[in-house]
């Protein structure tokens, strides 16, 4: 899932300071799970904004909505009637949702209310860790299911580096060394031989280094 954090309230208030009526649009997908952009987050943020604006002596009207997913036209098309009456959309979906909204409704400005951070999952309730960097060429098969691209600060393919100490990364003592995890996992699986093979430099063209990526599933295309 995509994990995002809410922007500081000062930044949000500043970005909507010239508007008197906005739509606050959440998303029922990933950001609902990470508590930053679901229906409840919409209501809470709307409440904060209305209170802050009332204090400033310039009340604001807010249309609250949370489409099933803000990253699909089918769902955001349902908002088009409401969109006609607002000055701007404050979107607390991930960056994908914000862009889908602004591409589908180009006459209305869409402002992001979240900072989209990473792809990961909750390692415990309400605590998320990054797990995938979307590099486009998965290496998990020979790393025992631990991703060195997402979890090693240096993205090493032949780790660990000299900064690994007591299983932790030199970048942050609270972060596990990905290569220590890889070693431990492979040892448990009896696959330490995987580490004897020197890995060639990664072809980063499958990642974001070659510009925007696209993918399609032809059989399903209309």
């Amino acid at each position: 899932m995509i994990v995002a954090d809410r922007k500081p309230i000062e930044e949000i208030l500043n970005s909507i300071k010239e508007y008197d009526k906005i739509m606050l649009a959440g998303c029922g997908g990933c950001v609902t799970i990470c508590f930053s952009g679901g229906a409840k987050a919409v209501e809470l943020l709307a409440s904060q904004i209305k209170m802050a604006r009332k204090k400033q002596g310039r009340a604001i009207e807010i249309i609250e909505c949370t489409p099933e997913r803000q990253c699909e036209y089918e769902f955001i098309d349902q908002l088009k009637d409401d969109l006609k009456s607002v000055d701007a959309v404050l979107s607390i979906a991930c960056g994908v949702g914000v862009q889908a909204m602004s591409e589908r409704h180009p006459d209305t400005i869409t402002i992001p209310g979240l900072n989209t951070k990473f792809m990961g999952y909750p390692i415990e309730h309400a605590l998320w860790d990054e797990r995938c960097a979307g590099c486009g060429d998965c290496v998990l098969e020979w790393t025992g299911g631990v991703c060195p691209i997402a979890r090693c600060a240096k993205k090493l393919l032949n780790g660990p580096c000299g900064g690994s100490a007591n299983g932790k990364c030199e970048v942050d003592k609270d972060v596990d060394c990905a290569w220590q995890l890889i070693y431990d996992r492979l040892k448990k699986l009896g696959r330490l031989d995987n580490l004897k093979q020197v890995r060639q430099p990664k072809d980063w063209r499958t990642s974001t280094n070659a510009g925007q990526r696209k993918t399609k599933f032809e059989e399903a295309m209309l």
Binding site: P8, L13, N14, K40, L44, S47, Q48, M51, K55, Q56
Partner: protein, 143 residues
């Protein structure tokens, strides 16, 4: 400011604070009439949104009153409420509203006197702070 009579909303657990309020009444204990009591099955029912909406709709102060820690009828409802109250304190602070306007209290159903004390304590605190609009203005910050 001495004439200011704050509106205070009290979210009270059915098993302790609400019964304590009832007891305070039965004991004929006088306390400030500024409080509006809302009965909850457990303070675990309290959501950050409930607290924020009270402020949005004109409350000057809000408190949540639950069972003593370790004595919740639903094991940890009051512990959850405590976290949510702390969260709402942060949300209020972010928009320049004094976080002291929201508080969590713990008491038992036998503590009628304590309930009256809590109401007095909150009423005095909010009277000192003044109306919610009086809190320092915190406008948008130009980046």
């Amino acid at each position: 400011m001495s004439e200011f009579e704050p509106k205070i909303v009290a979210y009270c657990c059915n098993f302790c604070a609400f019964a304590a309020a009832d007891l305070a009444g039965a004991m004929r204990i006088q306390y400030a009439p500024n409080v509006r009591i809302i009965l909850l099955p457990c303070t675990g029912k309290v959501d950050a949104l409930l607290l924020m909406k009270a402020f949005e709709d004109g409350a000057d102060g809000v408190f949540v009153a639950g069972c003593m820690e370790g004595e919740c009828h639903f094991v940890e409802g009051n512990i959850r409420a405590k976290k949510r109250v702390a969260y709402v304190k942060r949300l209020l602070e972010e928009i320049g509203t004094n976080p002291q306007r929201v508080e969590m209290f713990n008491l038992s159903s036998a503590m009628g006197g304590r309930f009256a004390e809590i109401v007095e304590e909150m009423t005095e605190r909010i009277k000192e702070l003044g109306p919610v609009e009086a809190d320092g203005e915190k406008g948008p910050v130009d980046k």
